[in-house]
Assembly symmetry: C2
Homo-oligomer: 552 residues x 2
């Protein structure tokens, strides 16, 4: 079936230096109010940075005539492609010390152009940094060092179309440069959805999700995007190819799984056939308070080890619940959500609440909400990245609003000289309680020691499994003016050491990029390290693709 004729684009202005849309940024007064919550921050916000204040310089190379129409050397475009959106990127912009500005930004519109750009780059020793929405928080889209003659940022967002839809097999062929809302809008007329809603949904692309094994909507079972991949098209300097559209296969090691998580180091993913779903018609959600975080962990484990498969199963510790407005009495809060296109989910929610109660949880019955969307909305589900439900004012909706607002608030605090960042991991259940305690204690102590200010270290579980969970930590502390990057790097080094000591992964879904290389190198088993290096040599013989991620 042919797909929709054109991809919609937002008319709002993206920030070149901070998260998301500029019209959603906190203003100076809100920044000051945020800063007042954190002792030791600045009296007034750092000014919003301007590209004109950067020393961008002339590009080291210009493209050949045959590629000129694809490549820009415009300073604004180059600045907007210099970094991702980690705290350390935001503060580097605020301090006018950005990472290496790429010399060139390319916007290919098809596979042939991607291949041509790779050919030219390989011949001229030009580093190529694949770039989707640019929302990396691990240094995944910047260049470090000076081993190449020039740096080209390969922006794929002009390739943003849903090219084919197979409604029988519920799948679609989608170009890698489609941002979340862009692809969902094209699927909507067919009654289907990819239903992959990372926090960055509006500002990240399918290709970025695939290349980083992004974590999405589902808190259980299909947590990463990996499982929704039917086929990948990959262009490497050495060869291009497309895996067959298959629901499953036992023919050798999965060819797609080598490129999922390859972060642009092995090739450029230009399109994928993705598995879709019907929009859910039945939903039910509830929030459950726990006085004791450790009993809450037991409750979540019981739910994760059942076959209830909640779509949402996020446990917020007391600090996280307070910050998001989900609780004000020192309770931990479990946000539970079920959804289905097949039938009502009230029974599953009730069973999950029973499990939570057996571990000391208190459900606020007024807030447990079942929604039969087929009945109340004529089958139209509200498909906002984090679906709103009818329980306005509940802990569930408070958390959901805060979830989308958090990165903006982080940038507001950054303007107040605060160090505010998140990191995430995963470990088996036997290690989870001690791991969370160690991160809180040791990272908090390190932040105090490094800055002289008391730090906040909060934790939530974003995804849960029968055999473990993915804790997600938020750290906030006043920085040392002008040395915020160094302060954060020192704090993060302590965090990395704690994760390694507990054999908890250096990343559950933020990817490795450049910032997690030390932890990744320790974690990666040697046979796979040898295989990955060999694959890199074979596919990228000139070593131009995203140098420094995953491998040296």
């Amino acid at each position: 079936m042919p797909a929709t004729p054109s991809a919609p684009r937002s008319s709002r202005t993206r920030s070149w230096w901070g998260w998301g849309y500029t019209d959603a940024h906190p203003d100076d007064a809100e920044c000051a109010a945020l800063g007042a919550l954190l002792p030791g921050t600045l009296a007034r916000p750092l000014p919003v940075p301007r590209i004109a204040d950067l020393s961008i310089g002339r590009p080291a190379m210009t493209p050949p005539p045959s590629l000129t129409h694809l490549v820009t050397t415009d300073p604004s475009a180059r600045a907007a492609h210099a970094m991702g959106k980690a705290y350390r990127d935001v503060i580097r912009a605020l301090r006018a010390r950005p990472g290496r500005i790429p010399d060139l930004v390319a916007h290919p519109t098809g596979d042939r152009e991607v291949a041509d750009l790779l050919d030219w780059a390989g011949e001229h020793d030009v580093a190529v940094i694949p770039f989707g929405g640019g929302s990396s928080v691990v240094g995944g889209v910047e260049y470090r060092g000076d081993a190449h003659r020039a740096v080209l940022s390969l922006d794929l967002t002009a390739m943003d179309r849903v090219l084919d839809i197979d409604t029988v097999s519920r799948s679609a062929r989608i170009q890698a440069g489609a941002l979340g809302p862009v692809l969902e809008e094209q699927l909507r007329p067919h009654g289907l959805t990819l239903r992959h809603f990372p926090q960055s949904f509006e500002f990240s692309t399918l290709g970025g999700w695939l290349a980083t094994r992004a974590g999405g909507h589902y808190a259980t079972v299909h947590t990463h995007i990996d499982d929704f991949v039917q086929s990948l098209r990959v262009i490497t300097p050495a060869a291009a190819g497309t895996s067959w559209r298959l629901p499953a296969s036992g023919a050798g090691p999965s060819p797609d799984r080598l490129f999922l998580g390859s972060e642009g180091a092995l090739g450029v993913i230009t399109e994928a056939w993705m598995r879709l779903q019907e929009r859910p018609r039945h939903k039910a959600s509830a929030s459950i308070a726990f006085a004791d975080f450790h009993r809450a962990l037991d409750a979540v484990r019981a739910i994760a080890q059942s076959d209830l498969a909640p779509a949402n199963c996020r446990l917020l510790d007391a600090g996280e619940a307070l910050l998001s407005g989900a609780s004000h009495d020192g309770s931990s809060v479990l946000v539970l959500g079920f959804e289905s296109a097949t039938g009502p989910v009230d029974d599953r929610l009730a069973t999950a609440i029973d499990l939570a109660r057996a571990h000391g949880g208190h459900a606020d019955d007024r807030l447990a909400t079942a929604i039969d969307l087929a009945r109340t909305h004529g089958g139209h589900a509200d498909e906002h990245p984090v679906d709103r439900d009818a329980s306005a004012g509940s802990a569930v909706s408070a958390w959901r609003s805060a979830f989308l607002r958090m990165p903006y608030l982080r940038d507001g605090l950054a303007r107040m000289g605060a160090v505010v960042e998140t990191f995430e991991t995963a470990a088996t259940w036997d290690k989870i309680p001690a791991l969370i305690e160690a991160v809180r204690t040791e990272v908090g102590a390190a932040a105090l020691k490094i800055t002289g200010h008391p730090a906040t270290v909060n934790c939530r579980l974003t995804h849960v499994y029968p055999d473990g969970a993915a804790p997600y930590f938020t750290v906030a502390v006043a920085g040392r003016p002008g040395a915020e990057v160094e302060v954060w790097d020192d704090i993060k080094a302590v965090a990395g050491e704690v994760l390694h000591r507990h054999r908890a992964t250096i990343t559950h879904h933020h990817a490795v990029g450049r910032d997690h290389r030390a932890g990744y190198d320790l974690q990666r088993p040697e046979p796979f390290a040898l295989a990955l290096r060999a694959a890199k040599d074979a596919l990228d013989p000139h070593r131009i693709l995203n140098p420094g991620v995953l491998l040296d």
Copy 2:
């Protein structure tokens, strides 16, 4: 937690040439009765082959003194490790034309010994064929050609222990050489189960399942063993390593997924931490008859695209249903089963039956059986590989009995000179009806043309997905006496051509081995082919590991 002290072993005798246990083989009279069903077969069965009738010869090399205690040159052991259990293996044994007999059979008891054997083999140009239960049906455990000085079969079944159990995270560290019943017996005292029940369950090992991405118990969601892997230990000639125990990770491409499906060509999997489950306490099953196979396909698709997640969802076409005794009136039969350790599954079964009825299915209500094992058996589930339920005499149980008996009957027919074999594939739903029709028609026509006898080509769906299904075909036809291997190879070549034309995978769960190389080479995308070759060169520089599978 320490594991159980010793691994149980069966006292029954394994057949060196045919499927399973010798005491389960059809006798001459049963063989003759089977042969009478297939026109053109022999008047009396070929004799049971004897090792003494093979010309085995002296081993080309002997092991060094340091390894002598691990290695045998006993002719019986060598003959029993010469081939797997495909039809072409059985008929080669019956015709006293086995594949290359390995020179040596090693039985290492630990990782150090595996590494020592690989070191010695690498230094002396000895091919090493990892061998678990030896149930390969794709030529995965034999040697072809003469490029090496000698051939060593690396039998891992002495490494059959459950070494650690983590009941909190519901996982266990299990040695790769444990046969299905051996590992389940060790898990049973802890109330846990791996619940991976391929047809070969009794005669295949964990390591074999991992190396071939075996298909197991579940017809939906977790169909292959891949998803139950928490960590792998792999020994390669170049390096050994163990991935961290993680419930999930986004740190680079999955290191385990490169070795899952690597079929012994990249390294030897010696142990794995596996995700376990509670034994189910609630079960319900039903069989549903369809007059129209195409409407049955639609029904199965509707169930696969719901979130009901049946554990069993096997659709038998009319021929398959007749052979297994599930139906005698030309109906296709859908065998549905649900199970849970969390709560009753009757509602899920009822919803699935409703979906089937909406597509013309007729459920025999007397046979829809819900079993609350917690109530009726004090919590003890019968954990036979294909769980028996209370509906004795039903289509469900008829099919289940036939499922386990089928490979034995195949060998009985082989003794009658018949060509009887299976092959399986997977494709997206849009291709399924035409694919099944083309296989039936073209393979049936080819078999008739090649043999001069009418052929039976039956189909069942073994695993189903929201975006597609895995059809499994059985072919039976009288062979040309003495040329059965060639007949089958010619028929299989036609099957492979049909699969390729429909872009259906060359294998859903039987693996590639040597028999599927041509189809696999056509299917594998070029970037992955380059990466896999490079990984092979890096990990197995002397090219001693299972030469000929996956790669030349």
